[in-house]
């Protein structure tokens, strides 16, 4: 299943997705990126972050994608997208 760039558009929007490395979280990152959003993805761990990066890149959508490790049960104040793993997709 894929995400056509047609559909709901999010160009210029900045979106934060928590639990981004789970099944629904990862699919959401891809969907929002395909819609043109800048996506800041966060999760309490970083297992699978590289795979998500490649998946977002392979969409070919023009978007920015960032991953940040952050445990939401302690709040999201620690989010700063320091662990940027992707820049603008081609």
């Amino acid at each position: 299943m894929s995400f056509p760039s047609a559909g709901s558009r999010l160009d210029g929007q900045i979106a934060l997705v928590t639990g981004a490395l789970g099944g629904i979280g990862a699919a959401t990152c891809k969907a929002l990126a395909a819609g043109g959003a800048t996506v800041i993805a966060s999760d309490a761990h970083s297992r699978g972050a590289d795979e998500l990066l490649h998946a977002v890149k392979s969409l070919g959508a023009s978007c920015d994608f960032f991953f940040t490790r952050c445990n939401q049960t302690r709040g999201l104040g620690g989010i700063n997208a320091r662990d940027r793993i992707s820049i603008r997709a081609p």
Partner: protein, 191 residues
């Protein structure tokens, strides 16, 4: 908070998705189980929203509203005999989302808030649901059958099918929706 804004500007969308599934009988539930579920599924959602409000509330009066999407579940709409504590947390998310929608509007913040209610979705979490059914004595064939059959459409859902709904709620295509639920469950809760 200043750091995220200096790098990205104001936040437009929060997908409050982080959550865990745990099953077990209430009479046997440990403090740890209760704490884990409440920490991640309730506290995490509240803190996520709190964080986002700070990044969302100052918006252009002529632009689109910001959008928060909170992941609840079919377990936030109907009961489940194997996961009362999980259901409690997902029910909490549903009414948190609704109340937050009213609060944001009343405060004059241009922030929408809606919840999403997936059925059983083909993710690692479905594996945990399968474990709960195995603990009830079902074999793997019966588990597959049970998980699919709960949905009138006779299959479990795909993560992309939930993500499409989230994308809709994130975008201005849902501009007049706040405080409501998007149920993506193959008909599970229609029964």
């Amino acid at each position: 908070m200043p750091e995220i804004e200096s790098r990205f500007g104001l936040l437009d969308v929060l997908v409050n998705n982080a959550g865990i599934y745990r099953f077990g009988k209430v009479e046997e539930a440990s403090d740890e189980l209760l704490d884990q579920l409440m920490q991640v599924n309730i506290r995490g959602v509240v803190l996520g929203a709190q964080f986002a409000i700070g990044h969302m509330k100052q918006r252009r009066p002529d632009g689109p509203w910001a959008s928060m999407i909170h992941l609840s579940s079919i377990a936030g709409l109907v009961g489940s005999p194997t996961s009362s504590l999980y259901s409690m947390t997902k029910g909490a998310v549903r009414l948190f989302s609704k109340s937050l929608a009213l609060e944001m509007a009343q405060l004059g913040y241009r922030i929408r808030s809606n919840s999403v209610h997936p059925g059983i979705i083909d993710t690692d979490m479905a594996g945990e649901v399968a474990q709960a059914l195995a603990a009830k004595g079902l074999n793997s064939e019966q588990i597959r059958e049970h998980m699919s059959a709960g949905h009138p459409m006779a299959r479990i859902g795909q993560a992309e099918e939930i993500a499409r709904g989230i994308r809709f709620l994130a975008s201005d295509d849902s501009a007049f929706m706040t405080g409501t639920e998007l149920v993506i469950d193959g008909g599970w809760t229609a029964k």
